[in-house]
Symmetry: C2
Subunit: 185 residues, 2 copies
């Protein structure tokens, strides 16, 4: 951040009064520009023991398989965001969506929230950001071609929980050595 | 948003290629400035059947009682944010924190995440944004002087769940008639 989005003058980093963190503050109008983590919402669409995955047609991790997911937008709820991403990437509608998995990725200022949803019917297709969309049974999951570690972990736990018939909401943190950032969204 | 925070030139609202939403885009350097929901993290600190609340020393809702909560910061996890807010507002340390409650407030682009935590000891104090901090038994909760509806709902459910001894993670949406925005953080 170099300039104030409000008045266009240069910003500098300083700790505002009654605060304890460096913020970008406008040297002219004193607007404080807070920066906060972003939420990635996603869905695990299930259909008779199978799971719907999308092959990514965009970077990062082009060509790798992913659960439909993307940045939550203003004006929507977390579940609405997850359903929207499922529609945009897999042209699929799900119902009975329920929160399943939360991941913190503090090094890239992201919080992932995955829902499980049941496909309304067996209709799906290839959305704008996908090159292929298909259902996978557990034995068919392309574990080595999954786009992000959070996808592998969510799928692994989903199949385990399916056997128990119990889906508890879990939350965990993903960190990595500070010099090496994975290609996470 | 009037100016590009990257190059300082004017921005205008348009739908970028391969997108379907109006975004602020720089007319000069074409940077797209995404705006996304923010996360408010909070904690319900418990101690032998009582709950720690803070009386707000700042607007909005100055003088009303709240659970310690505030905007999640970059570089921290959701739980770390909840513990930080508990320290900043109530000078209290909690342990065994576990996710309890999620609220979507799509009209103000916020997602609330409340944790339950047990006080490490009976030590607490008045943080910078509070004017009073104290423990309340269920019968003492100042229901009519709570700062935000999400606080009342979380506390009500907490005492109900305490009787059952079972705390399920719940998620719900809070909306209101579009002309009337409550004084929510």
């Amino acid at each position: 951040m170099n300039f104030c989005s409000h008045c266009g003058n240069p910003v500098s980093q300083r700790i505002p009064q009654d605060d304890n963190r460096l913020r970008f503050v406008c040297d002219n109008c004193n607007t404080i520009h807070y920066e906060n983590p972003r939420i990635v919402v996603g869905c695990l669409p299930e259909w008779e023991g199978q799971v719907l995955l999308c092959r990514r047609a965009i970077e990062p991790r082009l060509g790798y398989w992913t659960l439909p997911a993307g940045f939550m937008e203003n004006g929507e709820t977390t579940a609405e965001g997850a359903l929207r991403e499922t529609w945009e990437e897999a042209l699929a509608r799900v119902r009975e969506e329920r929160l399943y998995r939360l991941f913190n990725l503090p090094q890239i200022n992201q919080v992932y929230m995955f829902f499980i949803g049941t496909l309304e019917d067996k209709k799906f297709g290839v959305g704008l950001e996908s090159s292929e969309v298909r259902l996978f049974a557990e034995s068919e999951i392309p574990w080595k071609e999954l786009a992000f570690p959070v996808m592998a972990q969510t799928l692994r736990e989903y199949f385990e929980d399916s056997k128990k018939g119990e889906f508890t909401v879990r939350i965990s943190d993903i960190t990595w050595p500070s010099k090496r950032k994975p290609a996470s969204r």
